[in-house]
């Protein structure tokens, strides 16, 4: 069981960003995608989650055998795909508790109501694990949040929605070292045989906390190198140019 990306090409407007990308993310593993700015990492996250600004021109993506590209963004989510956004959006006037509740409710069959008592019990437990204040439930989604609070909120939503596959897009950006530790703890707690996690990051630092099973290097819309966690360390030491030169050769 896995997400399988085969020869994926995708563009926005007339510009091709993903240019023949191949990747397999099996359940039970954590993969990291690293790469320089502009390599298409965030675009990949948006294409996989179904953002309508991006057009897939070629290739296929399947999730546990199902054609992911045939599904609307909300159907992908309900099928078990989660994206922790690099820049989470604000929803003025809608409280965090209500938002998460609505998302869980959307997963229930028609006519079935979410059990409110059970929901709050679970929400509070997840918030405690992420060291979030109880007041947070009543605040509007991401409105007036610091960068760190927004990222923590993404991980909270992930903990509550329990996706089968999760993509974390630059979750470490904007986090100080304490927040990074807490967020990583939250992600690690979700590592499981039944879940695949794809971590997109610019820096090796995050991978000290969330240790990946595999590391891929993305450049110019393709995976140009794959390896184990040591590849990340090597990149940290030698930079991306070393790989570019090598692949150009």
């Amino acid at each position: 069981m896995s997400i399988d990306i085969r020869d994926l090409h995708a563009r926005i407007d007339d510009q091709e960003i993903i240019k023949g990308l191949n990747l397999t993310l099996p359940k039970g593993e954590v993969h990291a995608i690293m790469g320089p700015n502009g390599s298409g990492k965030s675009t990949l996250a948006k294409v996989l989650s179904g953002h309508e600004d991006y057009e897939v021109t070629n290739g296929s993506v399947s999730m546990d055998g199902e054609d992911l590209l045939e599904l609307e963004a909300d159907e992908r989510s309900r099928a078990g795909l989660f994206l922790a956004f690099q820049y989470p959006h604000e929803i003025p006037g809608v409280s965090n508790a209500n938002f998460i509740r609505a998302a869980l409710q959307a997963r229930l069959p028609e006519g079935e109501e979410l059990d409110a008592v059970g929901f709050y019990k679970e929400l509070y437990a997840a918030m405690d694990a992420l060291e979030m204040d109880r007041k947070f439930t009543g605040r509007a989604v991401n409105e007036g949040f610091s960068g760190g609070e927004k990222k923590r909120n993404e991980i909270l939503q992930m903990a509550m929605l329990k996706p089968v596959y999760a993509i974390l897009d630059e979750t470490d950006s904007g986090l100080d070292i304490d927040a990074l530790r807490i967020v990583s703890k939250g992600v690690n707690a979700m590592r499981s045989q039944d879940r695949g996690i794809l971590v997109i990051t610019h820096y090796q630092r995050l991978l000290d906390y969330i240790v990946p099973d595999h590391v891929h290097v993305m450049k110019d819309g393709k995976i140009i190198r794959s390896g184990d966690k040591n590849l990340a360390l090597e990149l940290e030491e030698r930079g991306y140019d070393w790989l570019s030169e090598e692949s150009a050769a």
Partner: protein, 470 residues
């Protein structure tokens, strides 16, 4: 969200969209002439002064031009000759649902009125076309001297009170439609709360249009005597007919010194109703009048609830939510007339335009030079759901003199595609995401509605948004 995906289509108004065969004993026929007035006065067995009042009003109505120089040209599409101005079965409102004719009883049962009455209301009046079918108020209130009847009965049983205040807050010639209402009014509520009496539960009226080509012209007069308090709620629906229907009410409130009136409206008209309503209150010394107004549905709504603050330290407030769906125009706002020192007014208006819907805010705040220490706060926020949605704002704030404080804020925001995508990524459908955005936008105002109404309001918004995405 693609551009064409959000064009509004058929809206589920199933709750209110039904009608029963007409069985009217009294029908004034189509068109409006002095004979129509006499017919209505005869049926109601009215006193001479009120018959004269109606005839005078008819003249004023006929002489006044349509206000199309500032309002929409769509008003010209109202054909006054094709409207039926009075329809009733000659029924007297009963005090027991058992005695209400079956079709009317079923109508109100389907709308949930008897159930609401049992749960949380102090009194109910249910109007079917031109006259009330049911009217009841809790005995304990009656013993304290609270009067809650329809206007026909109010005129008949309490002429001295009625005549004293009738047409004083909103004169016949205020505008073309207040004149029309003054000529042909029927139904509506008459409420009197004696000094010091605080009515703890709301009184509710429900206005139901059942007949096609019909004009409903209820007239409401609420008098809260010194130090008393009352909350009045009105609801309204009509079935979806092929032709347009006219609803043109006049509502006058009088809050005597230290009294408090809250007037709550949740309207959900079908998309062919012209809803042209004049609402105004007069607040005496240290009195407070609050209009809490939610406008959903209708083809065109023009409504600007107002408060004349006549006594020192009087307070006026308008809290309004308007949702303009495809093909609809919500032209709403508020009027605050400061006529005494240290008076305070507050206007908070939020509008939502969906598809090609249009929401207009018109505000008038008037503070003259000779007064001292008046305050006004005006906030109007508009939310646009699609690129084709429209909103416009016409605030007119006239403040003379330099001893006053006014504040005005306006904002226009749009539900962004990225915001919708964020919510869809969490598993919400596009309609659910829109609904949540809209509910979030009006959330702080919805809290001002009584709990039972805020639940209903949220349900109505959900229904509206469900129909608005393809």
């Amino acid at each position: 969200m693609s551009a064409e995906a959000s064009t509004a289509i058929d809206i589920d108004r199933s709750v209110g969209d039904f009608s029963y065969p007409e069985q009217h004993t009294f029908d004034a026929g189509t068109g409006l002439t002095p004979q129509t007035i006499d017919y209505i006065s005869d049926v109601k067995k009215e006193a001479d002064w009120i018959r004269k009042f109606r005839h005078r009003a008819l003249k004023v109505f006929q002489e006044k031009p349509m206000p199309t120089h500032w309002a929409t040209k769509d008003l010209e599409n109202i054909d006054f000759d094709k409207i039926r101005y009075y329809l009733s079965r000659g029924q007297q409102p009963t005090r027991s649902w058992e005695d209400v004719p079956d079709d009317m009883k079923e109508t109100f049962e389907r709308l949930g009125i008897p159930e609401q009455e049992r749960k949380f209301l102090a009194g109910v009046e249910a109007q079917f076309d031109s006259e009330a079918a049911y009217s009841n108020v809790k005995e304990s209130l009656e013993k304290q001297g609270v009067i809650f009847v329809n206007s026909t009965e109010g005129l008949r049983e309490h002429p001295e009170l009625f005549r004293k205040w009738f047409g004083k807050v909103i004169p016949t010639g205020d505008n073309k439609f207040s004149a029309l209402n003054s000529a042909v009014f029927s139904g509506g509520s008459f409420i009197y709360v004696p000094p010091g009496v605080k009515v703890s539960h709301p009184l509710q009226a429900y206005f139901r249009i059942n007949a096609e080509n019909f004009g409903q012209f209820e007239r409401t007069l609420i008098i809260a005597d010194e130090g008393s308090e009352v909350m009045y709620m009105e609801g309204c629906t009509a079935p979806k007919f092929e032709t347009s229907t006219l609803h043109s009410a006049v509502v006058e409130l009088v809050a005597m010194p230290h009294a408090k009136i809250q007037y709550v409206t949740v309207q959900n008209w079908s998309a062919n109703v012209f809803n042209l309503v004049t609402k105004r209150g007069m607040a005496h010394e240290n009195a407070e009048i609050r209009w809490i107004d939610c406008n959903i549905g209708s083809r065109l709504t023009m409504k600007y609830p107002g408060v004349v603050m006549k006594g020192r330290k009087a307070r006026g407030e308008v809290i309004s939510i308007a949702l303009a769906n495809d093909g609809q125009h919500q032209d709403t706002g508020a009027k605050m007339i400061h006529a005494a020192d240290e008076t305070t007014s507050n206007i908070v208006s939020k509008s939502i335009s969906v598809g090609q819907g249009r929401a207009t805010y018109r505000g008038q705040v008037h503070i003259p030079k000779h007064l001292k220490g008046c305050k006004n706060n005006t906030e109007c926020d508009a939310l646009l759901i699609n690129p084709k949605s429209k909103t416009d704002t016409y605030p007119a704030i006239t403040v003379r003199g330099n001893q006053h404080a006014t504040q005005h804020e306006a904002s226009v925001s749009q539900v962004s595609e990225d915001q919708i995508f964020y919510m869809k990524q969490r598993g919400l459908s596009e309609a659910e995401a829109m609904s949540l955005s809209v509910n979030g936008f009006v959330n702080d105002l919805v809290r001002e509605f009584p709990m039972e109404y805020s639940v209903e309001l949220k349900r109505l918004i959900d229904l509206e948004m469900e129909g608005s995405v393809g």
